[in-house]
Symmetry: C2
Subunit: 314 residues, 2 copies
DNA sequence: TTATTTGAACAATTTAAATTTATGGAGACT
DNA sequence: AGTCTCCATAAATTTAAATTGTTCAAATAA
């Protein structure tokens, strides 16, 4: 109801006249006819109940009220230009924020590399990485706090239906032993051998632990018979424990690349046992996808995706 | 040429939706229908090539780009409101500037009182007083540097036609003597007595001086025979000179009110001689008249105008 | 001076844009 | 499921703005 007493077009015209000192020249610059300019200024004067220009002589000269209005006019138009520029920057990825979610594993070992690559190409987009449980990450994606996320665990069914879940990569969980362990010399272990090992595991709440337990059970192992030396809540801590000879563990291969090449840890093969989990990309299809998110999904993720991932076929 | 990518109305709608969290509620508040709101936002999104709202759920939620735009939006709309307020203040005389011109005499003795009265009623209007020669004042009024002026001299003819000249008041130029002067005792002087006096006058360039000379000449006096003791360029200086007994002078009565009542100066009457000049109000009819100027002319000036002035009949 | 030019105002017509009415579809609440 | 709310869409109407053509006044030039 509180009608605005002027339009941006009118302000633009006002500015042009003030700059040119003439209605006609302003009209030429704005690519309209002179009467259009006259009318708009007349409307402006009528609505504000002021006289803006002295049109007596050859030049149009601002009145006091006109000068006052012009000041605001310039400020307003400047703000408009700035707003446009900001929006353009956002569109061309020269600004904005990308919020990525990840589980402990991917957040620690995969994301830093991806984000590095992204920031190299778009240094003006700030990226935020949120490492949380699969469950919490799922909810954050659902309500828009996170643009996209990669998870390794299973989503609650309600979220599963709400979100777009795309298979992204296979994360192998390798059995690792201290490099000086007696069994480290064997080329291939048997499942039975596992019962002889002392395990250092993640705590039983963690998604990764649950996944490992399930896969071992599925392959016919009795996980109750496995000896658990200790439970830790950090992969790094487990790695250190294994390297110190405290026991064996199932760890994501991405997390032990460096230790393997340094030879400080041993990766064992177990016959007829593959402990693998699917990493999945989750997004919220019912929400706006930012340009940054779009680009990340299209150009960054595929470079790290496994060959079978749908993301490869873009 | 560079078309604006949005209108103030669109920004207003954007703000309302953001505040209400709903297209419909925003429409209600703005007293338009819901489709009008939807269409405008769609136009905005199309023109800026961004998505502004996530319309999935029950609430309309801003996207990142939307939040960015909203920031600017609020700033712009605030500036608009401020501009309106400033203009309103100007209209209601809660702001603005009034520039008044005056000659030495009126500027010194009359204007301060008038301006005081004006400022008492409209303390928010700043008033500027410019004391200049009649000629220069006339030109300033002509080209709009001065809103209105009161002059005592004769304008050049070209200006006379260009400007509106209204008789304002009669300024009597009284013959004043040192109070101890021998002739100060006489009830009435004769014109002949003037030749016996030593005069302290304004310098010959001043308008007041010219007016006095002309009037004396018109009344049959030979101004060559008048003895001029000295020429000063300030009325105050002349007053002091007269009080010190250095000579006589013709001074505007308005400038010696205080001295007369204090008895430090003597006002003499000369038979068959009236030295009076017309003070005139000049304005520029072809220029915009500010509200302040209007009010000053209408309500302040008449209180000091002589009975015959047209200003009285308002 | 008169003639010519230039800039702004005015009126009527055309063109464009925004709003409304009416309707359909998707999600949320009972 | 059924209903309700909210937003999108389409066609029609209303409203506003731009253009064309013309007049008028002031400034410039002959």
């Amino acid at each position: 109801m509180p009608e605005l007493p002027f339009t941006l077009d009118q302000l633009r015209i006002l500015k042009a006249i003030a700059a040119q000192g003439s209605f006609k020249k302003a009209a030429d610059i704005l690519y309209v006819t002179q009467p259009a300019v006259s009318l708009q200024i007349q409307n402006l004067e009528k609505q504000l109940e002021i006289t803006i220009f002295d049109r007596g002589g050859r030049k149009a000269i601002l009145t006091e009220a006109g000068r006052l209005l012009l000041e605001y006019c310039e400020r307003i138009l400047n703000q408009c230009d700035e707003a446009c520029k900001a929006i353009e920057d956002l569109n061309s990825l020269k600004g904005g924020t990308l919020v990525i979610g990840a589980s402990q594993t991917t957040g620690t070992y995969l994301m830093p590399r991806m984000i590095g690559l992204f920031r190299q190409k778009y240094p003006d987009v700030s990226v935020q990485l949120q490492v949380h449980s699969t469950r919490r990450t799922g909810w954050s994606v659902a309500n828009g706090q996170i643009d996209l996320a990669i998870i390794g665990g299973q989503l609650p069914v309600d979220l599963e239906n709400l979100l777009q879940v795309i298979p992204y990569a296979t994360d192998e969980l390798a059995l690792v032993l201290p490099s000086k362990h007696p069994l480290a010399t064997k080329k291939e272990l048997l499942k039975e051998d596992l019962y002889k090992l002392n395990f250092v595991t993640l705590d039983s709440q963690s998604t990764t632990r649950k996944v490992v337990d399930k896969l071992l059970r599925d392959s016919g192992l009795d996980i109750q018979r496995l000896k658990i030396e200790m439970e830790l809540n950090s992969l790094e801590a487990i790695k250190n424990a294994v390297q110190s000879g405290l026991g064996a563990s199932f760890l994501p291969v991405v997390s032990i690349e460096r230790e393997l090449s340094a030879g400080t840890i041993h990766k064992a093969f177990v016959a007829d046992l593959e402990v693998k989990r699917e990493l999945k990309l989750i997004t919220n299809p019912s929400r706006y996808t930012s340009r940054a998110s779009e680009v990340f999904k299209k150009y960054i993720l595929p470079q790290f995706a496994s060959l079978e991932s749908p993301l490869r076929n873009i």
